[in-house]
Amino acid sequence: MMRRPTPMSELFSWHRAAIAGINPPVHEGDPQMGWYKSRLVRGGPFVTARIWIKREICMVTGKLETPEEFTCTVNGQIRDPYREWVWLANNPITKEAYTELSMLHDQVPAMKATRVSINLSEKAMRP
């Protein structure tokens, strides 16, 4: 039986509630679509992370052609969304903040070393 795609509003509902400060429940193994920030090491710089749904929708019928699959990247690397979910759930961010964080990595040299503690004393942060 062909399934209808899950509506975007439903897919983003958890993330929307989290950004609004409502503290929706976090269930292990139940990743939620959205934008997040994380660290690769303790004390390391923030890196961008994203969970989204990979799916194919029939242009004619509007129904799913493949099952909906969660996909995740952390710092641009593909990761298992089910394993990463519990850590990412702590730091949901808006799409704008996700973009800004990506840009910050280009602006702040200290952020390039994502696997070492970030040393803010090396170079002053500017506005």
């Binding site: 903040a97 800004e100 040393n119 803010l120 004393s121 090396e122 170079k123 002053a124 942060m125 500017r126 506005p127």
Partner: protein, 247 residues
């Protein structure tokens, strides 16, 4: 040829710190100072993103400050250790001399006190005698006047003058002195030392109420009490406690 006879020990050693480290820290500090100028120029922080960056600036400044201070302590430590060694060596000698002097000082003090007491007694005796001589001279003066004895009056006047002089000499306060045996030491005498002790705290505090040190002390005690309360409400008579939210 240069005369180096007045130059101190170690004058040619160079700075007491690692110049390269100091230069590196100076560069970083200047970067922070320059960045602070950029922050000041924006006037007001309007966005969450800017606030987060400002937070990182402050965190970086705090970290750099700690790094600089830790290094300062490290560079200074050998000199502190050296200073302590020098002090230990010389203080041991000073202590020995101190102890020796402390053994003899009470003996000298006791002698001077006794000498002063003796001299005071002699002075009082001389004063009494001078008073009696003056009274006798006055009586002789009167008797000579009654007899129309000019020579007798003259004698009595001279005796009265001598008695006055003796009284004046005896009244001069002098502390007992002990001079040097060899001439190498100075003459020593007792000195009066006055020290205060508190008899009534309230009266004493009232007396010093307007002294700036008094308000500094009271504020120090009050602030220490506020800190000890760790956020709990504290009431201190005469003290107003204000709350300010700070970073």
């Amino acid at each position: 040829m240069n005369d180096l006879s007045n130059t101190p020990i170690g004058h040619n050693k160079g700075p007491a710190f690692n110049e390269e480290v100091v230069n590196d820290f100076t560069t970083k500090a200047r970067d922070f100072a320059d960045a602070a100028g950029d922050w000041k120029e924006i006037g007001k922080i309007e966005t969450e993103e800017q606030a987060q960056k400002a937070n990182d600036f402050l965190a970086g400044a705090r970290k750099l400050l700690k790094e600089v201070d830790d290094r300062r302590k490290l560079e200074k430590q050998p000199y502190l250790d050296g200073g302590r060694d020098v002090d230990a060596a010389f203080n041991k000698i000073k202590d020995l001399i101190d102890r020796a002097a402390k053994m003899v000082k009470p003996l000298a003090e006791t002698f001077l006190r006794e000498k002063e007491a003796r001299e005071r007694a002699e002075r009082e005796k001389a004063e009494r005698k001078a008073r009696e001589d003056a009274e006798r001279a006055a009586e002789e003066q009167l008797a000579a006047e009654a007899r129309n004895d000019v020579a007798g009056q003259q004698d009595a006047e001279e005796k009265a003058k001598a008695a006055d002089q003796a009284a004046a000499d005896a009244a001069k306060f002098t502390s007992a002195k002990v001079s040097s045996a060899t001439g190498g030491g100075s003459t020593q005498s007792l000195r009066t030392v006055k020290t205060a002790t508190i008899k009534t705290m309230n009266s004493a505090m009232l007396h010093y109420r307007d002294a700036p040190e008094m308000s500094e002390l009271v504020l120090r005690l009050a602030n220490a009490e506020v800190r000890r309360a760790k956020g709990e409400t504290v009431t201190i008579p005469g003290i107003e406690i204000t709350e300010v939210r700070k970073l």
